[in-house]
């Protein structure tokens, strides 16, 4: 099971890197979304996917899931959701002001010498 998820994470990272390296601003933001999905899945997998029972300690339960990665992933998801929302708004503003979403035209080193 871990192996399958590891391959899935690898695919997500590959797609994310490809998208982040593209020129269109929107694709870059989607890329960061995929990147954080990959990171979150990795976080979940690293705790081990085993464990039959939910992480509630009760009589006779010995094989329960690790609760910590679940708590961490929740925090990380919320944060990346907020940052992505902020980025989308800012990208829209940048597009409205600069009239382009091509990163090549947003280089801008013109004013220092």
């Amino acid at each position: 099971m871990e192996l399958v998820v590891a391959i899935l994470i690898g695919v997500l990272f590959t797609a994310a890197v490809y998208l982040i390296l593209s020129r269109s601003l929107l694709k870059i933001i989607i890329g960061t979304g995929l990147l954080s999905h990959g990171a979150h899945l990795l976080l979940l997998t690293m705790g081990g996917l085993g464990g039959l029972a939910p992480p509630v300690i009760s009589e006779g339960v010995t094989d329960f899931a690790d609760p910590l990665p679940q708590a961490l992933i929740l925090t990380a998801i919320v944060i990346s959701f907020g940052v992505t929302a902020f980025m989308l708004v800012m990208a829209y503003r940048a597009y409205a002001v600069h009239k382009t979403d091509d990163m090549n035209q947003l280089k801008g080193n013109d004013e220092h010498d």
Binding site: I20, A39, S80, V83, M87, A94, G108, H112, D113
Partner: protein, 492 residues
């Protein structure tokens, strides 16, 4: 007062929330931000004194037993940095009253500063590696707001890059924490240290150490990950730049120093060698950048990169002189970078440009500005008895003791380049034929000078009063060099 380590985090947060209710009323916002920062500063001084008398303070939230709950730990190192952070924030806030403009003040400028300070102090204080990630995000999100606030063309363009770089490095942070968790099975920093010591740092932990260096190196702007810094930092107005330059990169430096003294101490031949080589390269590229530009902001921004290299070079020595030099230099650099950015902000206000070629002869019209700039410049370069001297002396001493002669020669030589780069500003801006100045009022100039002068004087006192600071820095050094002090305090 068992919650004392939390006060410098919670108080700015509380005041920031209060300020959100007074969006249009600039006067109340100013008063609240001033009061909030001063109260937090008093709390942090009290914390500093308590840590000095009672040793490392640790609070585990929710009264869970130590490795399970989130620990907040104030040792001398973090208490010193928390206090310096609030001190700088105080001066930048007072400076902003005149410099930032009412439009930005009405769009949550002061709350953003205090939210950022919450994140910075939290990152300095936390004793839990995932909680450090959360506090990094708190300070980053506030810094995203600060860097883009105002919505100028250049700001929008540069903040996209700033956010993108930080989002990627945050994802890397999560990945690194995941790897670390899968190996040691704990997130509490003291507990991680114990577990790594038990298994004796196998190869995988060294890989994680290098990953951590990359994650924090992006935030702290080390070679070759500093590429985003010069462009992004030049975009926001000067008070924001002063905050970023004085505080944000230092959080990355702090995190590297903390992890490399607490976790990864069993394979120093690899990890600290990498850190040392990278820090020397950071100094060299910083020097090239500082000499390459004719733009005031860019010159000082590249000096941030140099300072990061110098501090990490000291930290990489792992002996008493090197580490205490790094701590001295870290606090010095926060103070002096704050002062220098505020000073060049005034120069830019007076001349209306940040291009050195269009300036000249300011000494005739603005003599005090020139003299205080000169003092700050000498302090940055480390001319005794000013503030940069003791740190650099100890770092060089530590490097010679550890046998890294070439590295320390490069560090010492970089002082000359630093001096040259800042004196170039002095020569171009203050000497020569006076240029036609745009009409500016004398009153804002005086109001901006006041906090700046006090900050410069403080940095001079920091240099002259080194003798009194040595006990504090010795305590901080002891905690970093003997992780057992930190571990015992947290795990009791």
């Amino acid at each position: 007062m068992i919650n004392l380590p939390l006060l410098p985090i919670i108080l700015p947060f509380l005041f920031a929330i209060l300020m959100l209710f007074f969006k249009e009323n600039v006067r109340i916002q100013r008063a609240l931000s001033l009061v909030g920062v001063i109260i937090s500063l008093i709390a942090s001084f009290y914390l500093l004194v308590t840590v000095k008398s009672e040793g490392v303070l640790a609070v585990t939230l929710g009264s869970w037993p130590a490795p399970f709950g989130i620990s907040m730990v104030s040792d001398m190192f973090s208490a010193l940095l928390v206090t310096t952070t609030l001190l700088i924030t105080l001066f930048v806030v007072v400076y902003s009253f005149t410099a930032i403009g009412e439009e930005r003040e009405k769009f949550f400028y002061y709350p953003a500063i205090l939210f950022m300070v919450t994140g910075v102090n939290g990152a300095f204080t936390t004793g839990d590696i995932f909680n450090m990630f959360v506090f990094f995000e708190v300070l980053l999100i506030a810094s995203y707001l600060l860097i883009v606030l105002g919505g100028e063309k250049k700001q929008l363009r540069e903040s996209i890059k700033y956010i993108l770089v930080n989002v990627v490095s945050s994802a890397l942070f999560v990945i690194t924490v995941a790897y670390l968790y899968s190996v040691v099975g704990t997130l509490n920093m003291a507990d991680i240290s114990v577990k790594i010591a038990e298994v004796g740092q196998p190869g995988i932990i060294t890989v994680i150490a290098v990953l951590m260096l990359i994650v924090f190196g992006v935030k702290g702007a080390i070679f070759p990950l500093y590429f985003w810094l010069p462009g992004s930092y030049a975009a926001p107005p000067v008070p924001v730049l002063a905050l970023f330059g004085a505080l944000l990169t230092k959080v990355g430096v702090y995190a590297i120093m903390r992890t490399y003294t607490l976790f990864f101490t069993h394979n120093v031949g690899v990890t600290h060698e990498i850190l040392m080589v990278v820090s020397v390269l950071t100094v060299i590229v910083g020097c090239v950048g500082a000499l390459a530009y004719f733009d005031l902001k860019q010159i000082i921004i590249y000096n941030i990169v140099i300072a990061v290299g110098v501090i990490l070079f000291g930290a990489a020595q792992m002996n008493e002189a090197g580490i205490s030099g790094a701590i001295f230099y870290l606090v010095h650099d926060m103070l002096i970078k704050g002062a220098l950015f505020l000073l060049i902000g005034i120069i830019i206000y007076v001349t209306g440009t940040s291009n050195l070629r269009k300036m000249g002869g300011l000494m005739k019209t603005h003599a005090p500005l020139g003299w205080f700039y000169l003092i700050a410049a000498f302090g940055l370069a480390g001319i005794p008895p000013l503030s940069g001297f003791i740190g650099k002396l100890l770092i060089a001493q530590g490097a010679f003791e550890a046998g890294n002669v070439w590295g320390s020669i490069i560090i010492l030589a970089s002082s000359l380049i630093v001096l040259l780069s800042v004196i170039r500003i002095f020569i171009y801006a203050f000497w020569g034929e006076p240029m036609e100045l745009p009409k500016t009022k004398r009153k804002p100039y005086a109001r901006m000078m006041l906090p700046t002068i006090v900050l410069v004087v403080l940095s001079v006192l920091y240099g002259v009063g080194t003798e009194w600071l040595i006990p504090y820095v010795t305590d901080a050094t002891d905690v970093l060099l003997q992780p057992s002090i930190y571990i015992d305090a947290v795990l009791k």
